[in-house]
Symmetry: C2
Subunit: 294 residues, 2 copies
């Protein structure tokens, strides 16, 4: 894009810009059935569209490709700002983006001292609520199927679960997953072969929880009679299982709107480094109950 | 992007370009659990990335916003080509994009004479297989919960179902849905209150089928004993329901790769107008069976 192009007039065909556009047109209701990211983007878009800004989502395979994408965007001056999701330990993306002069908003980072404008999910508070609920029901053999351990929010949830369990004298089992249905099935199967068998499993997303429920059905283990399952993210599919899944629910659309606001402020140079904090809340449905008496 | 920018060096901060970037980094396996579009984009990206091209996905709310997005992209010369999905009757997007000089690939258009490079899904052949299977099982009271009727692929499926049913002397019931879980629940409930009650329902996507199964469970109607349910799109969740859903399965990733190839050829000016055709195939799982004897 050349900055001197007159607005309002179509530009002549251009040389390669390293970009291919695709528009996903759907009502908010339909977008909702695709988990987390579609809903999140719809929320961001709702705020940005008023200012004639679009979210441009690139889908890439790994961190190297992500880095190359930022470099390409910087060369082409394609974007006004970048939203960084799934913050990692020693994350080099903020520095890379700063070196390229691209304003950045951090999304979902949980720690106390963000160095950039951010909208953070409070995973410590959320897991305290989730684990506290299961412990209060009487569960003492708990397992946690996590997302990738490189993410700060995964680390925060593991730490929170361990801490709240410790106050009940309980040591939870933690197994790393990758948010896929395959991982949810495989890890649940492993956990249910253990002795003692867990009476409750917390999953870090909804897809792994649905897969875990499927395994329990296959093994003939009653949910919630013999096994409580608690999901995370509360996509619409969580209500459609038998039994419907208890889950930690975040207003992902509202989180997207907050991020959209932070992006606008960042572009205008008025963003607060502190940012906003959002917290998932427990929704109790049919997949959790007190454990059977020993 | 200015074509004379030196590569490998950061560009100076730019004035507003109407774009905010977000990178969704995830393994192919994780992307897969988000239905259709994420998988489709991953397939396109696999082909384009080799040529240093990215898919840029805008998520917008309606057709006006889609049109404004194309106009913005044209002004900013943001994209080398556009992929048009969900082709409608009297679709004005190809003409709009042509007026802006943006090369275009049509995705999922089913009809016989595409005027632009295209990768088409053969919905007639797929529905022939789906309906033929149910009719051969002995079903004579069939219902079809469709996607939005403005889409050519919805119209093709309705026409195919009506035709193949007619050859068995059957008139199917067709109700328009919108791909959402809400529509799947509401319409299934309506259908199951009819007299005679359908013994088989075909859904135009997986989310509506999962919602339909949920309603059958709630009403105590046995699947597949009293009611056969056939989904479409075969996202991983279709195998995780009880019973697992029979479904029409398209290799969406491969479709994305074909589209990526067509986009490259279009940019190079060597694209074939005819394009490729892909066809969904029946996967029989546990949600379909012969109807009970009358």
């Amino acid at each position: 894009m050349s900055s001197d192009a007159p607005t309002g007039l179509p530009a002549p065909p251009s040389p390669s810009h390293g970009a291919v556009g695709m528009v996903r047109t759907a009502s908010r209701r339909v977008v909702t059935v695709e988990p987390f990211f579609m809903e999140f983007i719809a929320g961001v878009e709702e705020v940005l569209a008023v200012h004639d800004l679009s979210v441009l989502l690139a889908v890439v395979a790994d961190e190297d490709a992500e880095r190359r994408t930022y470099e390409r965007w910087a060369r082409s001056r394609l974007v006004d700002a970048v939203m960084v999701v799934n913050v990692r330990d020693d994350d080099d993306r903020p520095a890379l983006l700063a070196a390229h002069g691209i304003p950045t908003v951090m999304v979902g980072r949980w720690d106390d001292e963000p160095s950039l404008p951010s909208v953070r999910a409070d995973d410590l508070a959320a897991m305290n609520e989730a684990a506290g609920y299961l412990l209060e029901l009487g569960h003492r053999t708990l397992a946690h199927v996590t997302g990738p351990s490189v993410y700060l929010h995964t680390q925060a949830r593991v730490r929170a679960l361990t801490q709240v369990c410790a106050s009940y004298g309980v040591v939870p089992v933690t197994v790393e997953g990758d948010y896929s249905d395959d991982a949810g099935e495989r890890i649940t199967r492993e956990l249910l072969e253990r002795s003692p068998r867990p009476t409750a499993i917390v999953f870090d997303n909804d897809v792994m929880a649905v897969a875990g429920l499927h395994v329990a059905h296959e093994l003939g283990i009653a949910v919630p009679g013999e096994l409580s399952l608690l999901g995370w993210d509360d996509s619409p599919l969580c209500r459609l299982t038998q039994p419907p899944l208890s889950t930690m629910s975040l207003d992902v659309h509202e989180m997207g709107r907050l991020v959209g606001g932070a992006v606008l402020e960042t572009i205008e140079g008025s963003a607060q480094v502190k940012g906003s904090v959002v917290t998932a809340r427990l929704i109790v449905r049919g997949s959790t109950a007190a454990p059977l008496p020993a």
